[in-house]
């Protein structure tokens, strides 16, 4: 069992309830897309799965561990098994691709080894092997600021492949790409996850991409799961319910206060300028 949520809820310090009593099970090797409108809690859910947030209620099990019970080294060991693909890959612009990819295994490496590899890449072949399926092997010694956005995103993917994670989490991995590249990248990600038996959970804005590439789709709205089924079973009715915008239609509904709370939260946290 890769992921298990029992009644997991998350309330932000501001009082905003991002997730409410989620029950969810994702088996090892499954590939799941999470879709839903902005503010539905997709990013929060992924941060929760990536040990970037702790649930405020319920039980969370990741790769047969409860991350809230782990401290120090054991938590780090769990984190080395979870790979995160970010919306825009967090790579220092001046870093070389080979170093950026090798950084995926910093959790497994000792500090002397990490420092030695910074001076001379110790496993350039491993990095090349991770870049090969992404058509980037020729960029091994290029600098990250010489790459395009799509190439950088693929370097980020190569890094988690090199990390050897058992669970891949992708938060809007293709939102910065053109449609063709987005399609290609998602197909690639799914193929690699399928080949290696890696569990893949991705949040997506584009419904068509989710339905086309992922066997299982979860619809999230206002922190609740609206539907959770095979991609082929998702109906137009499901999607209409997911994206219907009550506040824009002017209809009074129970979700209106949540949006108000969100806006209030935004105003409170917005930076003040002098």
């Amino acid at each position: 069992m890769s992921i298990r949520l029992d009644g997991v809820g998350l309330t932000h310090p501001g009082g905003f309830r991002a997730l409410e009593k989620l029950d969810l099970t994702i088996a090892a090797g499954e590939r799941v897309a999470i879709i839903g409108p902005s503010g539905a809690g997709k990013t929060t859910l992924l941060r929760l799965l990536g040990t970037g947030l702790n649930p405020s209620a319920g039980r969370l099990s990741l790769l047969d561990n409860d991350p809230t019970q782990l401290r120090g080294r054991t938590l780090r060991t769990l984190r080395t098994r979870i790979g995160l693909i970010h919306q825009s890959p967090p790579l220092p612009p001046r870093q070389r691709v080979v170093t950026a990819v090798l950084a995926g295994r910093l959790g497994q490496w000792s500090l002397p080894r990490a420092l030695a590899s910074l001076c001379y890449p110790l496993d350039a072949e491993g990095a090349r092997a991770a870049l090969e399926p992404l058509d980037l092997a020729d960029k091994l010694y290029a600098r990250c600021d010489q790459l395009s956005g799509g190439q950088l995103q693929r370097v980020g993917i190569a890094r988690v492949l090199y990390q050897g994670a058992d669970l891949l989490l992708a938060d809007e991995p293709v939102s910065a790409m053109d449609p063709v590249l987005a399609d290609h990248t998602l197909a690639l990600l799914n193929r690699i996850a399928d080949e290696r038996g890696i569990t893949l959970v991705a949040s997506l804005h584009a419904v068509d991409l989710a339905l086309r590439h992922f066997p299982r789709v979860i619809g999230l709205r206002d922190g609740k799961i609206l539907f959770d089924c095979a991609a082929s079973d998702v109906t137009d009715n499901d999607l209409n319910g997911l994206y219907a915008n009550d506040s824009l239609l002017g209809a009074a509904s129970e979700s209106a206060p949540t949006i108000a709370a969100l806006q209030e939260n935004l105003i409170r946290t917005a930076p003040r300028c002098f």
Binding site: G52, L84, H86, P90, L91, Q95, A103, G107, V160, F274
Partner: protein, 278 residues
Amino acid sequence: MLLTSSAQSHRDPAALPRLLITVLAIALLWPGLVITEFAPAALVDPRNLDVFSHFLAGFWPPNTSPEFLAMLGKATLETLAMATAGLALALLLAIPLSLLASRALSVSALLTGRPSRWASAARYPVRLLLILLRSIPEIVWALLFVRAVGLGPTAGVLAITITYSGMLGKVYAEIYESVDQRPARALMQAGSSRLAAFFYGVVPAAAQELMSYTIYRWECAVRASVIMGFVGAGGLGQMIDLSIRMFAGGEVVSILLTFLVLVLLADQLSTLLRRRLA
């Protein structure tokens, strides 16, 4: 204050705070000029100019006799060695302290976005230590150490080590916090240790600024070692002190020109390394 409601809606909401801060800054700076009796008119007063030009006339031409230049070379080397050794020792102290003091590598911030209260409380003593190290001017340390270890550059090296470790540690910690935090956070989120995340996530982005500041501090250390020479810590400072006492203006100018060359070299080195790291 606000004229009408329509004027209010068109006004930049930041205008009033900016105006208040400007007024406050002037109100704070003006007394400073009054207290220091700042009167630039005295500079161009003919009598003062006369005294000044007589004083300066004694400085030319620079002394270029071979014996003096040999002495000057030796003193320059001593000053450079004092500054470099002091800065190197200061780095040994400053780097670990800056890592401890910086919020950039907070593990608790991974979960909540900001460091936990306990972690901030643990960082505070380190910040306090850095303040303590840099709050006492190096010349006071030099006076102290001259009594402890005797006349000579050792006292200067120790004084530079102590003060500069405080300055470097503070600024390094702030540089780590000023660069993009996402690379280091992503690495720690993937199980990397803090130090490894520092070298892979923070250093690449901060290297240029760290290098530039360190070289600037080295330049300052050269000047500081000169000042400490006045209290007997050796090098160019001791030499300039003697020359001034003996009214040997030519020697003073030669020494000042040497400073100029040293600072020029430091600046060139900084430019070169910055370009290399860009």
